[in-house]
């Protein structure tokens, strides 16, 4: 049930998604992996939208070089854990949201326990080994995962629905290299907000998702291209040869 204050607070979106949609957001538990360039804007909009529970995962501490894009981390936060820094801002934005801060690196070992209770996972990580681990855990539990990545003026986003769409490993069977990448802050902002937009659509059942579609953003000329995708039946993460495939939440 929504309180009177919540009905007022979210009135401008309830006019669109209804009280039922707002209740769905309130009942949701979103797990956000990464509170960097993508994670900060995604988390801010999810907090503003009234998502009930948000788990934020990041093992890094705030550095000076983060500040051109990671908008929840400020000068005063340099040296602090990113989950603490962003958790503080998100809590101030929306005290009604329950926030769980996890200062850990996402690995194959811990990913299942980190996301097991989630309604939805957002992949806002900055490297493919951790992204693959998150993808595998999301497939295992049958939890949708919204993947986004950026570099320079370029970004892409897709929504993975286990058992239905191509998974991250179907789309990118081989990891792109490189660890430190140049980045214009707005690129991360645009893709991060698109990830929040996918999350809101999924949770409220509105619109259509980027299922089996890779949206490619090019900030040089503000162009958007959508590539159609297909599940790879021989995928090493969700292929038909795996027990319990295709990924309907029963791989264990």
């Amino acid at each position: 049930m929504l309180s009177e204050r919540e009905i007022m607070r979210y009135s401008r979106q309830i006019a669109f998604i209804g009280e039922e949609g707002q209740e769905r957001l309130k009942a949701a538990h979103v797990v956000l992996a990464g509170t960097g360039g993508l994670g900060c804007p995604a988390a801010a909009y999810l907090a503003a939208a009234g998502v009930g529970r948000l788990t934020i995962i990041d093992s890094d501490r705030v550095e000076l070089t983060n500040l051109n894009r990671q908008i929840l981390h400020w000068e005063k936060d340099i040296g602090r854990e990113k989950v603490v820094s962003s958790g503080e801002k998100l809590g101030a934005m929306n005290p009604g949201m329950v926030i769980r801060e996890v200062c850990e690196t996402v690995t194959m070992e811990n990913a299942p326990s980190l996301i097991g209770q989630a309604s939805l996972v957002i992949d806002a990580l900055d490297n493919f080994p951790a992204r693959y681990a998150l993808n595998c855990a999301a497939l295992e539990y049958g939890i949708p995962c919204i993947h986004g990545a950026v570099s320079g003026f370029d970004g892409h986003i897709t929504t993975v629905i286990p058992g239905k769409t191509a998974c991250l490993q179907c789309i990118f069977p081989d990891p792109p290299g490189g660890s430190e990448f140049p980045i214009i802050g707005t690129t991360a902002g645009i893709i991060g907000i698109m990830q929040a937009n996918e999350a809101i659509k999924y949770l409220t059942g509105r619109g259509s998702l980027l299922e089996n579609r890779l949206l490619i953003w090019d900030g040089r000329d503000s162009s958007v291209t959508i590539l159609d995708l297909e599940r790879d039946p021989r995928c090493s993460a969700c292929g038909d040869h795996l027990p319990g495939a295709p990924g309907t939440g029963g791989r264990r």
């Binding site: 990464g34 960097g36 360039g37 993508l38 994670g39 806002a124 990580l125 900055d126 490297n127 493919f128 986004g148 990545a149 950026v150 570099s151 320079g152 370029d154 970004g155 892409h156 789309i171 990118f172 069977p173 081989d174 990891p175 792109p176 290299g177 490189g178 990448f181 980045i183 991360a188 490619i216 090019d218 040089r220 291209t225 590539l227 159609d228 995708l229 297909e230 790879d232």
Partner: protein, 92 residues
């Protein structure tokens, strides 16, 4: 035959806005990439590794359909085909 190339992200920056490429009849993806790589060293580095193999993380689409690793060497292009090349980004 004329092949339309759509370059994305970093690759678009390196090779520029290519619209059409003239290739001999019967050419495949390797010939197309060879022609692109001959434009400058940066293009070659982006498309091929040190052993001259096509970099495996790049996404290739022919007429908007994904071309898998195995088909990359065998597919034959035809007049008017569109080849999209996307070297995915990884950062967050």
């Amino acid at each position: 035959m004329k092949i339309t190339v759509r370059a994305f992200a970093r690759f678009r920056e390196v090779v520029g806005e290519i619209q059409a490429l003239d290739l001999p009849e019967g050419s495949g993806i390797p010939a197309l990439l060879g022609a692109l790589a001959s434009r400058n060293d940066e293009s070659r580095d982006l498309l091929f590794d040190e052993q001259g193999m096509i970099r495996e993380h790049i996404i290739f689409m022919v007429n908007r359909k994904r071309v898998g690793r195995s088909a990359l060497q065998t597919i034959i292009l035809a007049e008017g085909d569109e080849v999209a090349i996307y070297p995915p980004v990884a950062g967050g």
